[in-house]
């Protein structure tokens, strides 16, 4: 080990991409425009992910699409996006922004995933995330059977043909054997794993009107309610990779809202952490705040760099 610096090193290397700190704005949060990616950069994010792009424009579900209850958020946005043609206009200079920008491509089948990937990766994105795990959009993710090991490997393999940039496969927390899914994604050519997508779906019913509040009735659960499940998922993925003797970074996503939460994810085996619902709790400056808290916590715990404690909880 090198000399211990007085200021802890919280920069990370994610699939060869240098991040100034491990916070990544998760997909579906604010990432509809280039200017909002800039807001994330100004808010201190280490990297930011765009909102998922499909081949054609999608209106998504009707409102209410996002609500918050006492322990987290429920969302059923339904992959609204302006389509890949518009996305390459909106994000044309993604490679020139001050932080690495991660693309997100979605499709109804492997071919659509690959088509979107081939189209949007011309913008200079640092990496590509493919969510195979959305719990609330018919034709996509969990609702289309994309979260089996077979489909995960097949779709990843198709996307691998479309881009040379690092691919992160985003997995669902719903399945008990998440480690198998991670290995299937890596077998298909993925470079890393994003764990996890929102949980469920869940439902909130308004007792006055006797109706589910979300117009789609159900939506993915995120925020504090998801955090312990996400930590366990990251731990399971990291354990499975270690057992298989495979080296690949994991982005831990689910309820991270403080520096302590980020360190917990890293100790479960994460290289970086996705931040979503915490933007609702703490505003767009949350990334820089988490990074500062993480640095202070490292000082208090005598941690010189995040690499020292990555996967520390894995026995």
């Amino acid at each position: 080990m090198g000399k211990r610096r007085p200021k802890p090193d919280i920069s990370v290397n994610l699939c060869g991409i240098a991040l100034r700190n491990p916070t990544i704005m998760a997909s579906g949060i604010l990432g509809v425009s280039r200017d909002l990616l800039m807001r994330a950069a100004e808010g201190g994010a280490g990297a930011a992910t765009i909102k998922s792009v499909s081949p054609e424009p999608r209106e998504g579900h009707s409102n209410p699409t996002v609500i918050a209850y006492e322990a987290g958020m429920l969302n059923a946005v339904g992959y609204s996006n302006a389509g890949m043609e518009e996305a390459v206009r909106e994000f044309h200079d993604a490679g020139k922004l001050p932080i690495p920008i991660i693309a997100s491509a979605i499709g109804r089948d492997a071919d659509e995933f690959a088509r979107v990937a081939a189209k949007i990766m011309s913008c200079g994105f640092a990496a590509l995330e493919i969510p195979l795990s959305c719990p609330h959009t018919p034709g996509y993710g969990v609702m289309a059977g994309h979260s089996t090991p077979e489909a995960t490997e097949r779709i990843t393999r198709a996307v691998r043909q479309a881009t040379e940039r690092p691919i992160l496969v985003k997995l669902s927390p719903n399945l008990p054997a998440i480690g198998e899914l991670a290995l299937a994604a890596l077998e298909g050519g993925a470079d890393g794993i994003s764990a996890v997508n929102s949980l469920g779906p869940g439902m909130v019913i308004d007792v006055e009107t006797r109706q589910p509040v979300l117009d789609f009735k159900v939506g993915g659960v995120s925020g504090p309610a998801l955090r312990p499940i996400a930590v366990r998922c990251v731990y399971d993925v990291a354990t499975a990779l270690r057992k298989a003797d495979v080296e690949a970074p994991v982005v831990g996503i689910g309820g991270v809202a403080t520096g302590r939460d980020a360190l917990e994810m890293i100790m479960a085996g994460a290289t970086a952490v996705g931040i979503g619902t915490a933007v609702y709790q703490r505003g767009v400056g949350v990334f820089g705040e988490i990074a500062r808290e993480l640095r202070r916590l490292c000082v208090r715990l005598g941690i010189g760099s995040l690499a020292e404690v990555r996967g520390a909880a894995l026995s």
Binding site: P64, E70, S80, A82, Q211, V279
Partner: protein
């Protein structure tokens, strides 16, 4: 109260209120007056009307239909009101609800008008509304009794709150009520006379953009309430984005100085998919009220 707890997670759920009364305002707008539960029950249900500031908004929910942002046009001991211009499927259904109907209110959300307490006794304030934007200014007009409310409407049949606010200045495009012309003429006259310190405005962006730039040139403070397509209403989905600003959270009220840094103001908005649309292609208030299709005859 529904204030943020230090460690807790702040819910954002609709609170259902009952429609008490419907008032017809003009040929295309109605005002819906909702009963408000007494303070303790309201707080228990998560409705914090004490947090309402003119210009803040609520997401109004009709179950199994949609949820859309609306400013309140009145808040008082008698309840709260929303003034609705029937133009799309949601506003048409909302505007046709009958007393006893129940509507969810999620909010108040966003940044309302500010600095108005300073002008409570001042005559040197203009509240300039265009079309249904006048409704957003109404709670502000209630708090600024000496300010001048100026409204622009296409025609006499669309003038709003004609009897609710005395001393207002009315402009119509066709001259069928008040002065023929646009509220910007009043603004130019008052600025030339050095008679204004503050302008609050809401309405079609062709009008509010002209007002904001005129005030900026004249060195008179101006705040504008914007409208954009919204989903979450709480600053996470990004759908209402305007040049990196979140209209639901950073706005919907912006100062003329802020708007000068927002090139999309007056020019572009995003639709439900997130695609940018040129505002010149959008007709916010149809020139003619939409009529039901004529019966087919053989």
């Amino acid at each position: 109260m529904a204030a943020r707890k230090a460690k807790g997670f702040r819910p954002s759920l609709p609170v259902v209120l009952t429609l008490a009364e419907v008032r017809r305002e003009n040929e295309q707008m109605v005002t819906l007056l909702f009963q408000v539960p007494e303070a303790r029950e309201a707080a228990a249900r998560g409705l914090d009307l004490g947090a309402f500031v003119p210009g803040r908004f609520f997401m109004l929910w009709i179950p199994r239909l949609d949820e859309k942002p609306y400013a309140l046009s009145h808040v008082g001991p008698d309840g709260l009101s929303v003034s609705v211009h029937k133009r799309g499927p949601f506003s048409t259904r909302l505007g046709e609800l009958e007393p006893g109907a129940r509507v969810g209110f999620r909010g108040p959300l966003g940044r309302g008008f500010w600095d108005f307490e300073r002008f409570a006794g001042s005559e040197r304030v203009g509240l300039i509304g265009g079309g249904c934007g006048t409704a957003v200014l109404a709670p502000l007009a209630e708090r600024l009794p000496r300010a001048t409310l100026v409204q622009g409407a296409n025609t006499a049949g669309r003038v709003l709150f004609r009897d609710r606010f005395a001393g207002q200045v009315i402009f119509t495009d066709d001259g069928s009520a008040g002065r023929k012309g646009f509220p910007t003429e009043w603004l130019d006259e008052r600025l030339a006379a050095g008679a204004l310190d503050m302008v609050y405005t809401c309405g079609p962006e062709a009008m509010t953009a002209a007002i904001a730039s005129t005030c900026l040139r004249a060195g008179v403070a101006c705040q504008v309430s914007l409208e954009r397509y919204m989903k979450c209403g709480v600053g996470v989905c990004g759908q209402c984005e305007c040049d990196g600003r979140l209209v639901c959270l950073d706005g919907p009220t912006f100062s003329a100085e802020e708007l000068a840094q927002m090139p999309s103001f007056g020019r572009a908005r995003r639709d439900k998919t997130g695609r940018r649309i040129d505002l010149a292609m959008v007709t916010p208030c149809p020139a003619e009220p939409r009529k039901p299709p004529a019966p087919q005859s053989l």
